[in-house]
Symmetry: C2
Subunit: 421 residues, 2 copies
């Protein structure tokens, strides 16, 4: 089955919207989606009449569990004034809305529709932290949960395997965290618009105010190495290795390529679409790689005719810091075992040769699970249009970016390449 995947009709992104991410107990998913949708409508350079939207795809992980309401498709249809047009929900745990994006692309490519809205949303703040952990555990494989694993435990296991195999240490994780947090203050949507140094200084100020002994951390790495500042969750995953619980929504407007210029002079084209599935931890041949990511990467590269070296920048699913390192290797950005060195050398910094998570990543921007896939693509789209403000990648020839979205403990993965032509 080595047939080259080619869409019957090209698809372009012509609009996007993303809420501010954070914890908003007094609001709900309809509020979030309306906020993202309103930004999307205003973002379309030449305007969009919402009546022209043919269909909607939305990703959500488990509102069934988090807010005790399922079947959100008609709720979204009603919210947007879209009844009786088709609305479809996709679910792939934390990759739920990247699947919605993908189905929207395929629906246009199939000839069925011309203009499709895709998006995602999640509200995690209505539950207690314990309930969120219980809900998220349903995204893991049933074998993992039965064996006593939590999400930080699964990723911690991958990290120890990575350390053992490649001689890396926790410093490799610190570098990922410091780098991503450096981008967050430049992103007005970020849940934690603070660098690690900001956190450190805030902690010092607090100690001073309380007339406690003031810790003397010489730099951010010393701060992250101090368990009093960065306590362990599931070794070697400490607090600053783990993304937060978040609320939010994101959406994007997709149109057939042949009509994209009716909406904007700067359409961003869908160049590659990849999706893969993966094994439960116990069945993996290699704890330092995701077969789902490799499959998604290969499919997207094959479809686009591009190679890993063509990807100028990317958003990568850093639910835990180790995931960013493993993903860089699985996607071929660097050779296996080299990611920790590449990050230390500054390759993935905003001003480095291959920036990763310019948005701040899941760690600093936030991770409303059902919204994340489209939120990542929103960042890539924004960067490719040169509209990322203070966090704009400083490359005047920015043309190709990609987003990698991982569901569960690696059970579902998407890799989507966008291109400015």
């Amino acid at each position: 089955m080595a047939r080259k995947r080619k869409l019957a009709r090209g698809v372009a992104v012509v609009g996007g919207g993303l809420t501010k991410l954070g914890l908003f107990k007094d609001r709900n998913c309809k509020d979030f989606f309306a906020e993202a949708y309103t930004e999307m409508v205003n973002s379309v350079d030449k305007g969009i009449d919402p009546k022209d939207i043919d269909a909607v795809y939305v990703g959500n992980f488990t509102n069934d569990f988090f807010v005790k309401q399922s079947h959100w498709a008609p709720i979204i249809a009603d919210l947007l004034g879209n009844v009786p047009k088709p609305v479809t929900r996709t679910e792939g745990a934390c990759a739920s809305s990247a699947l919605a994006f993908r189905e929207g692309v395929l629906a246009i490519a199939s000839g069925m529709y011309d203009i499709v809205l895709v998006g995602g949303f999640e509200q995690m703040s209505k539950c207690s932290t314990e309930e969120v952990a219980e809900g998220l555990a349903m995204a893991a494989s049933p074998y993992e949960v039965a064996a006593g694993f939590t999400f930080p435990g699964v990723f911690g296991t991958m990290a120890t395997a990575y350390f053992a195999k490649y001689g890396a240490t926790r410093e490799a994780l610190f570098n990922v965290t410091i780098k991503s947090h450096n981008n967050a203050p430049l992103n007005p949507k970020a849940q934690f618009p603070m660098t690690v140094r900001d956190f450190m200084n805030a902690r010092i100020e607090r100690s001073k105010k309380k007339a406690e002994p003031v810790p003397a951390w010489k730099d951010e790495k010393a701060y992250l190495a101090d368990p009093a500042a960065n306590p362990p969750v599931a070794w070697p995953m400490h607090l600053f290795d783990c993304c937060p619980i978040s609320d939010g929504a994101a959406c994007m407007l997709l149109v057939a390529e042949d009509m994209a210029r009716n909406f904007t002079d700067v359409p961003i084209h869908v160049a590659g679409l990849g999706q893969g599935s993966g094994y439960s931890l116990h069945a993996k041949k290699d704890l330092t790689s995701y077969e789902a990511t490799r499959a998604a990467g290969n499919a997207a590269y094959e479809m686009s005719g591009l190679t890993p070296n063509d990807i100028q920048f990317s958003e990568v699913h850093d639910c835990f810091s180790i995931a960013e390192l493993v993903t860089m290797e699985d996607l071929g950005f660097v050779k296996p075992g080299q990611a920790h060195r590449a990050v230390a050398d500054g390759m993935t910094r905003l001003d480095g040769p291959r920036p990763i998570n310019t948005s701040g990543g899941l760690k600093s921007k936030g991770h409303p699970v059902g919204a994340t896939g489209v939120a990542q693509l929103y960042e890539v789209w924004t960067q490719l249009r040169g509209q990322a403000g203070n966090r704009q990648v400083p490359n005047p020839n920015l043309r190709i970016g990609a987003a990698h979205n991982l569901g569960g403990t690696g059970g579902t993965c998407t890799f989507t390449i966008l291109e400015r032509r």
Copy 2:
């Protein structure tokens, strides 16, 4: 937006499988899906190498709630030996797997894939009846539940509106139930392979054995009219108006039309695909019609170039008996207000001019919600291939059938027309 919807590439069904439906507490969704999948593999006339399946779409309503496990895509991928190929879950309440079917069709039509497995599954028997009611309530609109409505309550309200508007009585519902139950004993997969007369006779036998007074019902209608035999749930919905709680799975193999003859000499083609969304009860203009069904019907008729009169037989979403009547009208099989007369006249009987629910329908065959959409299409496919055994529609020129799948209280609807060419 009056553009005619046309797929860039045609799609055909070349295989199918359906479990026996019922309550199977000692088994699970993996067991069910494996059973349906095995039948599907064996059903492909010229054989299928499972390795050639490019992607999988599965519908499920709320395993999050019913069995406390979400993110079933990688579980299914692993079950089928399909890792790392893409598997995507769709959710549209009771229309979840019709959405999976639809996305499978679009994925092939888009040029992305050639061979796609679609299916659905649900296990409802692990919960108490109260928990199932709570889970299903999450498929209703949040306004309906907040107003105190249950599912039988919503459909009961539609029935009273229908009665008031068209002068029908509960006898119209009896006719639907008796007709569907007449087909069930002819379907080896049915959860209740019994006619209403069988239920009546069993009740008489039980009374005799217990030496109780033996009820003297003159016929099935008298039996259904007796609240001792058919107690009210939410008037005018009585027990025999409501489909059961069920477990089960269904799947079908879709391939690009241009390669269908490699798999069978009798491919069944996807002629029309329609999907719509609908309002919550309080916002409906008319309680005797579903805007989602009308939109889905119109879209499928437009795409196929067919009219309601071309649909020789159909599976219709009879979660409650009244739904079958309203749907017949919304799909244009009869004029508004005429369905109750048409059913009384025998139009929808197995040997009538336009058979409906030859499988026994949700009422008698069973309704494992996430499996139902594909289970309905499986029946249509089986009939069009002339393989429905004792329940085969007695028409030697059977060529066009359709399946109507409704999610929630009408929030999502699909209408899919299959054709033997």
